[in-house]
């Protein structure tokens, strides 16, 4: 029996109406299989969207995670904990896929060990941080706003220094959160060429 015959027979079996199963069963079965496939896909995506996954890599655990633990986003009086994906992976479905594609670049980095020591991480930190700043700048600090929103911000309950800043630059849409709040979750790299949000003047340009 040649390959062609085999293919033809397969096709016949496949295209012949089912003798043993009802149409209803098949439709339902197909539906369920679809659900399971979609669910599995979703679960896989969910798993890679958990903090435990992120810190399964020592680059993430020993550098950024250790630092995060010191900050207000790890423990606070409100008991709300910001995890890595809260700030780093957009909750929007399509953006999410796009981020995952980019993440395979990281897996590459892991395999080829581009950042296997603290020193190498620190050397690369400005570059990595800049990627994040640019991303948050271009989406108007979307991830921050998932938890904090300018609309619900009661500046009369903030201290005057914060209230004044927000009133002057945030509510007028001149600046976005990340312009002023860099380094709220991790230690900062050399900031000589990165201006603070409220001036736009860098230190090295003096």
């Amino acid at each position: 029996m040649g390959i062609k015959d085999f293919a033809v027979r397969c096709w016949r079996t496949f295209s012949r109406p089912s003798v043993h199963f009802s149409l209803g069963f098949l439709t339902l079965g197909g539906f369920l299989a679809g659900v399971m496939f979609w669910g599995g896909f979703n679960t896989a995506l969910e798993t890679t969207n958990k903090e435990a996954f992120c810190i399964s890599c020592h680059e993430m655990k020993e550098n950024v995670y250790e630092e995060l633990k010191q900050t207000i986003h790890f423990t606070n009086r409100s008991g709300v904990r910001a995890t890595c994906p809260d700030c780093h992976v957009p909750h929007n479905w399509t953006d999410k896929i796009a981020r995952k594609m980019q993440a395979s670049k990281e897996v590459w980095g892991k395999i080829f060990g581009t950042i296997d020591t603290r020193e190498k991480f620190l050397d690369k930190r400005l570059e990595l941080a800049s990627h994040e700043w640019n991303r948050l700048k271009s989406n108007n600090s979307l991830e921050c706003r998932n938890c904090h929103s300018a609309e619900s911000m009661d500046i009369t309950r903030q201290n005057p220094r914060a209230a004044k800043m927000h009133e002057t630059y945030l509510f007028t849409d001149q600046k976005t959160c990340i312009d002023c709040h860099k380094g709220i979750a991790h230690r900062l790299p050399d900031m000589r060429d990165v201006p603070p949000g409220w001036t736009g003047i860098t230190s090295s340009a003096q």
């Binding site: 230690r187 230190s203 003096q206």
Partner: protein, 156 residues
């Protein structure tokens, strides 16, 4: 009868240190590591609140480093970045509406004014500190210059 009185007396004597200590402890300052059995779990006091009301505090003498009236939690102060200077440096004070560091912060130890903050003034929290609402453990008998000059209680 006698035995009962004796027992009561014993109980009283045994309780004496506790009673005395209790009376004393009422107004004595509570030392964080005061005398208590090592094996005993003493609940920690709640953390005192930071004072972050942005209100300037009186300086006790003219060259006292002013207290920091705002939050500085997680402010990074190292080789990479000096968070304080992002507001208090000369070029940033307008955008931040913060008081500029005074000329003394630009001077080296020979009084020579430098172009940027002097290295010996780089670590701001060496001299400037925020306050909390904790009650002082011991009283403070400091008198400022005006009180001394008035000579009523001080000046001797």
């Amino acid at each position: 009868m006698k035995i009962r009185i004796l027992l009561a007396a014993f109980a009283l004597v045994a309780a004496l240190p506790v009673l005395v200590a209790g009376a004393g402890a009422a107004d004595a300052p509570k030392l964080p590591s005061g005398p208590h059995p090592m094996v005993q779990d003493v609940p920690a006091d709640p953390m005192p609140r930071e004072i972050v009301d942005d209100v300037k505090r009186t300086r006790n003498y003219a060259d006292q480093p002013p207290l920091i009236p705002h939050a500085i939690r997680d402010y990074q102060l190292d080789l990479n970045v000096n968070k304080c200077l992002t507001c208090h440096d000369r070029k940033n004070s307008e955008g931040a509406q913060a008081p500029m560091i005074s000329i003394t912060h630009f001077q080296d130890r020979d009084g020579q004014a430098l172009g940027a903050v002097s290295p010996r003034r780089y670590f701001c929290t060496q001299c400037h500190v925020p306050q909390t609402d904790a009650r002082p453990i011991t009283g403070n008998m400091f008198k400022d210059i005006d009180t001394v000059l008035r000579g009523k209680e001080g000046g001797k």
